[in-house]
Symmetry: C2
Subunit: 296 residues, 2 copies
């Protein structure tokens, strides 16, 4: 899966995709986003439709649910409608893994994970395919949740920990819906790579903006990141500027941009791209054995 | 059905809907359009996805195929995925019927139909619910097609005819994919109402632009019409200006705009709105008996 996601970022880096900005529709209790795209080199096109309703857990429903519709470019015929709720988790995990593969200066890493939801697990599963993980520390507002998650990764010496200790790692992954910085600048040591995953809408942020100022910051898509990624709040407040973004993950994958020094900090700001959704939907459609699509 | 479509135009006229512009993805052999919307007053939200592949008939497929996904505004759960190919024809027919109901100065009308495809039939079926039709003349490039269509409307004294004769009618309906004017200015008599349905993409037009200059022109949505409706080519060529558009069908339905004189010509420029798709999808979902959804 990571290779398929790496391939779409390569296409993105080479400018070979059509991917208009996500379209947002807002409800009193949430929103939904429509994400159309076309990847000519892979002959796949379609749309992902995904909601975000933060209050859903109280009603026993996932906060985020998604459908992907695949369309045949040649004829326009709808080829498939897929439940993309799990696929969304997986493709986001894979993007983080690809970012860490290219941007972490170490192949053998300690990992700190902030947040204990589905995305925390997806990030670790995908990362383990790219780097050798020697230790994982999970932090959650509810320590119990961190412990439960850690119990699923015994093979990586996983445990629950405090927030600051979790940030003392070679790869730090943030996966919360936070609207204020959780990760303080002083906690991040030289050479760390950070996957900033949680911020995906205006107003969300997880990192102390001073981290961005001393880091080399890569994004998945420039327009989406400025609108709704980790950088959106610092940019809106004048603390950070789009000019300070080093490049896109696509540019990293194609080799045009890279980590420059071993001791610098790198950040990958992920908002989630429609082309990732198309690529993983096709893997699912082709019957990849490791993909299950439980509803919802 | 016409009442449901009239109701969504009323909501549109009152500014009570969220409907971002259609998003186009282009293929070598066609395109697809993604159309999200939310109608709070009716508690419906969703997306229509529709392709246009002009070469499909050679391969035994419809040119246009559509899916509509309905989403629950409260929770974001996908409520239904509907085959919207026939629904698209029907909701477009209904919009024309609503326009003619409000803009035709006569309740008893002769009708001229330019084009003999699915939309020609849908327009007449819906119009017959609003006005008393005393005669229909169908014109098609292939006279045989006009004759076949006429045979389905014997109760309205329907026949195939020449193009100029078809335009000599109280209500003229254009439903072709033409990229040059078919209907000449001199053929349209005082007091005619025209439903200009065919033009739905940049470069398409069916009417001599001089008709627009002497008519009162209404559109379904201002931005969509300027981009891709009957007015798009005359505007691009500087022959017509968005300022000359009299208003939207929503403004007509709410009573803020109207035909001013019995002898003037009125034009309704239809591009097709996502809110129409949502309304008719809900009718289908509620099990309206007269709706069938054959595939494709």
């Amino acid at each position: 899966m990571n290779r398929a996601i790496e391939a779409v970022f390569r296409e993105h880096g080479e400018g070979g995709v059509q991917m208009p900005p996500k379209v947002y529709i807002t409800f009193p209790t949430g929103d939904f986003r429509t994400m159309p795209a076309f990847l000519p080199a892979m002959d796949i096109a379609g749309v992902k439709i995904v909601n975000v309703h933060p209050g859903n857990r109280e009603h026993g429903l996932p906060t985020v649910m998604a459908l992907t519709i695949l369309i045949d470019p040649e004829s326009g015929v709808p080829r498939a409608v897929l439940n993309a709720t799990s696929l969304t988790d997986m493709r986001t995990g894979a993007a983080g893994a690809v970012a860490a593969k290219f941007l972490s200066p170490k192949r053998e890493v300690t990992v700190g994970v902030i947040g204990s939801g589905r995305q925390a697990e997806a990030q670790v599963r995908a990362l383990a395919e790219e780097l050798r993980i020697t230790r994982i520390r999970f932090w959650s507002r509810e320590e119990k949740n961190a412990e439960v998650l850690a119990s699923r990764f015994r093979e990586f010496d996983a445990s629950a920990s405090g927030l600051e200790r979790a940030c003392d790692a070679d790869v730090v992954i943030t996966t919360t819906p936070s609207r204020e910085p959780l990760v303080q600048d002083g906690w991040i040591h030289a050479g760390t790579h950070i996957n900033a995953i949680g911020a995906d809408a205006p107003g969300k942020e997880e990192l102390d903006p001073r981290i961005l100022l001393r880091a080399r910051v890569f994004v998945d898509d420039m327009a989406q990141a400025v609108h709704s990624g980790e950088v959106n709040v610092p940019i809106a407040r004048g603390l950070f500027s789009p000019d300070q973004i080093a490049g896109t993950l696509g540019e990293v994958v194609t080799g045009r941009k890279r980590r420059e020094r071993k001791e610098e900090i790198t950040v990958f700001d992920s908002t989630g791209l429609a082309i990732q959704d198309l690529a993983i939907a096709r893997l699912a459609l082709e019957g990849a054995e490791w993909i299950e699509l439980p509803f919802p």
